[in-house]
């Protein structure tokens, strides 16, 4: 079934589940506080660190930066680690591929890399704004929240999917109905 050399998604997913549990256990033991996987708060802290260079008073006065604490922490290193881990994995099976426009995007919007850059940028702004409003992204709410059977995780992931599926169908269309 798989021809691209990737692992079975169930197998890789199970390993991620084990990694998430081991991470909470190890951080509880060594740091005194369990770290659940998450990513979106890192963008707040990084934005805060960047803004501090230009307007330190403004960051010091902003309630949200105060609440989330602008600093380099476990999660920021975790997000940086994702980049390196993915790079390493792509070298092991030669699946690293330079790409400026994804094929599915170019079928719909053409091959202009600036058009894709603009779309990616705008999508990023909207996605992170929404993630912070919801209090997490598919890692924090989807993986960590649902793992803990938190109601917030299920509601947030449900809304991520509803918003995402509606807009993806508007943009690209979809198959008729996969359940028929």
């Amino acid at each position: 079934m798989k021809t691209d050399g990737g692992w079975n998604p169930y197998f890789a997913g199970i390993l991620v589940g084990i990694l998430a549990v081991v991470s909470v256990l190890v951080t509880t033991q060594l740091l005194g506080k369990g770290q659940f996987l998450g990513a979106s708060t890192t963008f707040v802290r990084t934005a805060g660190l960047a803004e501090q260079k230009i307007a330190p008073e403004h960051v010091a006065q902003n309630e949200y930066y105060q609440a989330e604490k602008v600093k380099i922490d476990w999660q920021m290193m975790f997000v940086i680690g994702i980049l390196f881990g993915s790079f390493g994995a792509s070298l092991t099976d030669k699946s690293f591929k330079k790409e400026v426009v994804p094929p599915m995007w170019s079928e719909r919007f053409g091959t202009n890399p600036w058009c894709r850059a603009l779309g990616a940028f705008a999508g990023g702004v909207i996605a992170l704004f929404g993630a912070r409003m919801a209090g997490g992204c598919p890692s924090g709410h989807g993986l960590s929240g649902m793992m803990q059977l938190s109601v917030s995780g299920f509601i947030a992931l449900g809304c991520f999917l509803v918003g995402g599926i509606l807009v993806a169908r508007l943009i690209y269309g979809g198959r008729e109905y996969p359940w028929i």
């Binding site: 990737g6 991620v16 994804p102 990616a120 990023g124 919801a134 991520f160 918003g163």
Partner: protein
């Protein structure tokens, strides 16, 4: 110490995301178009294994939960907004970093957009925190508390539903 652990955990997570092939734009948008279920198979497998592991360690008294409060207004509206951005960008925050790592350079613009989105949110937060972000505040609740059953009942039902969904996906080659 915490920085090293974070980096190490991130490297392993990124490795698994890449090997599971869930970092690709085509997989993310393919799922949102309901033509490729790879990412939900991956995610649900992780959640099912994780929930059993987390609650086992909680029962043993080795870890404690870290639950985010449920606020209907914030999670429903924020969740829908996130979904819109996800469908346009084609990545979520963690997968955007991973996608850049495997050479998808356009993910860089998504990451830059996310930083701007975060800065924008920090400016908008004071205006929302006492209204929108308080609508439907139900506190830190879990499904076992809502249904008033033992958490293992919820985990078993969730796992059974997940497996039925996996079989359904495989039968339809999604």
């Amino acid at each position: 110490m915490d920085l090293t652990l974070g980096l190490l955990t991130g490297i392993l997570f990124g490795f698994l995301l890449q090997k599971g092939r869930v970092l690709r734009f085509e997989k993310q948008i393919g799922f949102l178009r309901l033509i490729d279920m790879t990412i939900i198979k991956f995610m649900l497998s992780a959640v099912l294994v994780g929930s059993a592991g987390i609650y086992m360690l909680v029962d043993l008294g080795m870890i404690s939960l870290s639950i985010k409060g449920t606020v209907l207004g914030a999670q429903i509206i924020g969740g829908l907004i996130f979904g819109i951005g996800w469908a346009i960008l084609g990545y979520c925050p963690g997968t955007a970093a991973g996608a850049l790592g495997e050479g998808r350079y356009h993910a860089f613009w998504g990451l830059l957009g996310m930083l701007c989105g975060a800065a924008l949110y920090a400016e908008a937060y004071p205006g929302m925190k006492d209204n929108l972000l308080k609508w439907g505040d139900l506190g830190k609740i879990t499904l076992p508390e809502v249904f008033q059953v033992n958490h293992w009942v919820v985990i078993c039902v969730f796992a059974a539903l997940g497996i039925v969904f996996f079989i359904w996906c495989e039968n339809r080659k999604l």
